[in-house]
């Protein structure tokens, strides 16, 4: 805080106001189309998984269902949490809560956590959403592919919220006036999970849990693969998103599953811009940004060696090269 990093002024490219207004314009059409496709794929793969239950064919069906449930929900949670995906705020709220359940994030406290992440992106001691704290081993990180670190942590938080308590972390970023909302949504989440467990026990089959609850774990892998590209291995404690965030070129299928969050520098610089306008925003600011990573392979070619090195040397980070005419603010 003494270093002036908290709630500080961050670097922004200059964009004419008229153009910025266009980028920020909301619509329901694009988000409705994408959400309908996502839910239809989820339902379709779910029906296939049910029909093939007990056979080997259920494995690919559950792989698809789980990925759509446990991974593709993450970017829906994120966009609707910002309130930018749909023009109609009530629809954002409904999708946000549904997706929050799917990724097992209590929606009230996570909204505050994410506001802090935008306020103090990768500022150590402030940002509660640093996915890879320095020194994390690749073994620990790989267990996240199946939610084995975050999942139990979120379940403990939900249990605590259910009985009217908050974690020290939540106390730090969530105002007291919000606690009661968090407690009630945690209770609803836990009730659904307990009811599903009860159903599974009653019928003596794991099938209900394979549809509700467990996909958050077995279907999380793509969330991690996408999510690590955002900030892993880059600088901490800087006031320039170009130094601590990545924009990665991705295929249309990946961009659908990830709601264009591959344009992550642009999103952090201008969080009021809906996901569907991020490609156009990228074109407007790209001269101001470091080179875009060519696909997941291009990003991981940097991330994996960087994380391996950081596990031994926590002072190491990837120094991004900025366009020479544009100086960093920190």
């Amino acid at each position: 805080m003494q270093r002036g990093l908290v709630s500080a002024e961050w670097y922004h490219p200059s964009i004419p106001r008229a153009q910025m207004k266009q980028f920020m314009t909301r619509s329901n059409g694009r988000a409705a189309r994408d959400a309908a496709l996502w839910l239809a794929l989820l339902a379709g793969s779910g029906v296939l998984a049910h029909l093939t239950w007990g056979s080997w064919w259920s494995i690919p069906a559950f792989a698809a269902y789980g990925t759509l449930y446990g991974s593709a929900s993450d970017s829906r949670w994120h966009e609707c949490g910002h309130g930018t995906a749909f023009k109609t705020q009530r629809v954002n709220t409904v999708v946000y809560n549904l997706a929050a359940f799917m990724v097992l994030r209590e929606p009230v406290s996570w909204r505050w956590s994410h506001a802090r992440h935008h306020d103090d992106t990768i500022i150590v001691g402030r940002d509660a959403e640093i996915a890879v704290p320095r020194g994390t081993s690749l073994l620990t990180l790989s267990s996240e592919l199946f939610n084995l670190q975050s999942g139990p942590k979120e379940l403990r938080k939900l249990a605590l919220n259910c009985v009217g308590a908050v974690t020290p972390e939540e106390r730090e970023y969530m105002p007291k006036s919000e606690y009661h909302k968090a407690f009630w949504s945690a209770r609803v989440f836990v009730m659904i999970l307990v009811a599903t467990i009860g159903w599974s026990v009653a019928i003596g089959s794991l099938e209900p849990l394979m549809f509700v609850g467990l996909p958050t774990f077995y279907g999380r892998w793509l969330l991690v693969v996408f999510g690590l590209t955002q900030h892993a291995g880059l600088a901490e404690d800087v006031l320039d998103h170009r130094l601590n965030t990545r924009t990665v070129r991705m295929s249309p299928v990946s961009r659908f599953l990830y709601s264009n969050m591959n344009y992550h520098i642009e999103h952090h610089m201008f969080p009021t811009v809906p996901y569907h306008a991020l490609p156009a925003l990228h074109e407007a600011v790209k001269a101001d940004l470091p080179p875009v990573y060519q696909g997941l392979r291009g990003a991981y070619r940097e991330i994996l060696p960087a994380l391996r090195r950081q596990a031994k040397d926590p002072t190491y980070f990837v120094q991004r090269e900025l366009p020479h005419t544009r100086q960093a603010t920190s």
Partner: protein, 116 residues
């Protein structure tokens, strides 16, 4: 306390569905024009993150903060979406002779209740 009207900008400079920043002394304000060309003024900084609302998105009579997407009603100042929970002060605004003016002696609305 008597009202002092201050010139903000020419009415043409402020487009429909837009907001402009106006600084006066050590205070900063956000002045809005709706799609029906009604004019409003509020405190200029978001009550959550102390960010200038003039960089935000005007959606009807709602201003969305450019940093954290907190939302406020520009007519009442009420916080409408978290992380904004504390209302903005509101000020009279008008157009006289093609010039947008606001009265800044004091906030005219009692801050609306917080959303919590």
């Amino acid at each position: 306390m008597s009202e002092t009207w201050l010139d903000v900008c020419s009415a043409d400079e402020l487009e429909p569905d837009d907001v402009v920043r106006f600084d006066h002394g050590e205070r900063t304000f956000a002045v809005y024009r709706t799609s029906e060309s009604r004019y409003f003024a509020t405190d200029g900084l978001c009550t959550h993150g102390r960010v200038h609302l003039s960089g935000g998105f005007v959606d009807g009579t709602i201003i969305e903060c450019p940093k954290h997407n907190g939302r406020f009603d520009i007519i009442t100042g009420a916080a409408k979406a978290t992380p904004a929970t504390v209302a903005l002060g509101c000020y009279p605004a008008r157009v006289v002779g093609g010039v947008v003016q606001i009265a800044v002696t004091a906030a005219v609305t009692t801050p609306a209740p917080n959303i919590a």
